[in-house]
Symmetry: C2
Subunit: 327 residues, 2 copies
C-alpha cells in the first residue's frame, strides 16, 4: 500500500474510534464544542503515522491505537487553546470554538481533550512498562509544545527575536509533536532507546522544515483563508522570515518592521503587507528560508540513515511524503 493510501485508511479508522472516546451526541457542554471543532476536518496524519510506524517495525497496530487517539486529542486541545490565544475567529470556514461557545467553554473543552488523551493511553492493551514509556512520550510532547507556545506568544514583542530563537521555538512547538506519533508507534513495536532518540531527532529537523515552508506559503500562495497573501504579517506571527529580517535588516527597516508586526490585525494595511514583502525580498529572506528548509530536510535524511534498524524504509517514505506535502 502506498503511504498516502495507508494514511487515508488508518486516518478513517482513527476518525471512527474518536467517536467512541468522545461521543458526538453526549450533551454535556464538552462533546458538542469539541465535535464542532473536530468536524472542521483534519486528516489525522500524525495518528495514522503512529500506526503505520508500529506495523512497519513489526508491532501490532491494534496495540498502538489508544496512543494514536491520544495524539489526535492532544493536537485538537492545542488547536482549541491556540485559537483563543491567537484571537483567531475562523478555522476552516467555521467560527472557532471560543467564538461559538465562549472563552470559558473553549478553555474547558480543551482541558477535557487532554484528559481524554491520558485516559486512552492508560487504557492501552500493552504491558505496564510500555504504557509508562508512552505516557512519558505524551508528557514530553505536551510539555515541550507548551514551552514552544510560550515563546511564540511572546516572540512578536521581543526586540531580540532571531533565527536561533525561531528555531528554538519551532523545535519545541512543532518538532516534538511531529515525532511523537512515530516514537509512540516505535515504542509499542518494542525497538531500542537508540532508535527512539533518532526518531525524536527526526522531528527536530522535519518539524522546523515543515514550519518554514508553511511560513513561505503565506507569502507565495497564501493560506487557506481565501488564498490571501500575508495573513501571518497581519497576525504579527513570528515567522522564519521575520526572524531573519530582524537579524539582517538596517536599524530603520527593523524598527518599521516591528511596528507593523505589533499593529492590531485590523490596522495592518495592504501597503504595510507589501512593504514587509519588499523588505523580505530586499534582504533575500525568502531565498534564505528556502535554502534553510532544504538543508533541514537533508539533515532529516541523514538522521534516518543513522537509525540503527534494518527495516527503516518506512521513515524515508514518511519523510518524502512530508517533503512533498510541504512543497
Amino acid at each position: 500500500m502506498l503511504i498516502e493510501e495507508s494514511i487515508r485508511f488508518y486516518g478513517a479508522k482513527i476518525n471512527e474510534l474518536l467517536k467512541d472516546l468522545i461521543p458526538p451526541d453526549r450533551n454535556d457542554y464538552l462533546c458538542e464544542p469539541i465535535w464542532h471543532h473536530m468536524r472542521t476536518g483534519g486528516k489525522r496524519v500524525r495518528p495514522a503515522l503512529c500506526l503505520i510506524t508500529c506495523e512497519a517495525l513489526g508491532g501490532n497496530h491494534l496495540e498502538a491505537v489508544n496512543f494514536a487517539l491520544a495524539i489526535e486529542t492532544m493536537h485538537n486541545m492545542f488547536l482549541i487553546h491556540d485559537d483563543i490565544e491567537d484571537g483567531d475567529t475562523v478555522r476552516r470556514d467555521q467560527p472557532t470554538v471560543w467564538v461559538k461557545y465562549g472563552v470559558a467553554n473553549a478553555i474547558n473543552a480543551g482541558d477535557y481533550l487532554l484528559a481524554c488523551a491520558y485516559k486512552t493511553t492508560l487504557a492501552s492493551p500493552i504491558s505496564v512498562e510500555k504504557k509508562i514509556k508512552l505516557l512519558q512520550v505524551l508528557t514530553t510532547t505536551y510539555e515541550k509544545t507548551v514551552e514552544g507556545q510560550a515563546l511564540d506568544i511572546n516572540a512578536r514583542a521581543a526586540e531580540d527575536f532571531s533565527v536561533a530563537k525561531y528555531m528554538e521555538m519551532v523545535e519545541l512547538k512543532t518538532g516534538y509533536y511531529l515525532a511523537c506519533g512515530m516514537v509512540g508507534g516505535a515504542v509499542v513495536s518494542g525497538v531500542s532507546e537508540k532508535v527512539l532518540e533518532k526518531i525524536w531527532m527526526l522531528g527536530k529537523t522535519m518539524g522546523p522544515a515543515f514550519q518554514i515552508r508553511d511560513d513561505l506559503i503565506d507569502l507565495t500562495h497564501g493560506k487557506g483563508r481565501g488564498g490571501v497573501i500575508g495573513s501571518d504579517v497581519k497576525e504579527g506571527k513570528a515567522s522564519f522570515l521575520y526572524s531573519y529580517a530582524l537579524q539582517v535588516a538596517c536599524a530603520e527597516d527593523k524598527k518599521h518592521l516591528r511596528e507593523i508586526m505589533l499593529k492590531p490585525r485590523d490596522e495592518t494595511t495592504d501597503t504595510d503587507i507589501q512593504w514587509v514583502l519588499d523588505v523580505y525580498n530586499k534582504y533575500g529572506a525568502i531565498q534564505h528560508a528556502q535554502e534553510f528548509a532544504e538543508d533541514l530536510v537533508r539533515q532529516a535524511y541523514k538522521t534516518i540513515d543513522e537509525i540503527p534498524l534494518e527495516n527503516k524504509a518506512i521513515f524515508k517514505e514518511i519523510a518524502s511524503f512530508m517533503a512533498q506535502r510541504m512543497s
Copy 2:
C-alpha cells in the same frame, strides 16, 4: 503531632519542592506567571494530606512526594484557568494571571502546570504498577473536575438547575479533587482497592459538604474580598442556595431570581443582593443548606467506619479537621 501541625510541616515541605519542579527565576513566560499566582498563597492542604495519609497507612511519604506535588500543580492549573473562565480579576488581593500577563499566557501557563503534574508523577520513586495507579488517580480527578467545571460554567443560565444538578456538579468539581490526595497517599502505602473506593466515596460527601458551607459563608460572613456579603450573587454563581430556591420558589420569585443571577456583575445592585437574601430566607434555603451539609458530614463519618482497615484513625482526624475549618 496534631493534624494541623502535620499539615503545616508537610505544606512547608511541598512549598520548597515546588521550587525545584518550577524554578521561580526561570525567565520563560511560564514560571513567572505561575509564581505570580502561586505566591498569592494556599496552604497546600491537599498535598499535605496525601503525605499524611501515606505515612499513617504505613507507607513512606518520600515515595508519595511526587504525587503530592502533582496535586498541587494541577490545583493551581485549575485556579488559573477558572479565573479566566469566571472573569475574576483579583485573587487574594493580587491581579489574576490573565489580568497581569494576558489571556494567552494565562491559558498556556495553566497548560504547563498540568504537564508538570504528569512529569513529576512519572518520576515517582515507586514500582511501575503503583505509578500507573497514581496516573489513573490523577487522570480521573482531572477528567471529573473538568466535567464539573463544564456544568458550573453553564449552570447559571440553565432553567432547570436543581439540588440534584448542584450535587452532580460539586461531586465532580470538588469531590474527586478533595479525595485524590488521600487516595494517592493510600496507593503508595499499598492498601487494597476496596479501601481506595471508600476514600473516593469520602470525597463525594466531604467535597459537597465543604462547598455548601462555602456557599453559606458568602451570605453570612462574606468571603475574602473585604468581607462583602453576596459576592456569589453578584457573580451569578450556581450555589446550593440558588439551586434549592429555584426548586421551591413560586414562579414569580424564580423568574426574578434568574434575572438577577444572569445580570452582569457590575449591574447587580445592593438591592438585588438583599432581595436574593430575603428570598433565600423566605424559603428556608439557608436552614436547609446547613442541615444538608451536616447530613453529608454524617455520611462521611459513616463511610470512614466502613473502610476495611485497622489503622483508619487518620481519616477521622482529617474529616474532623475539615469539618472544623468549614464551620
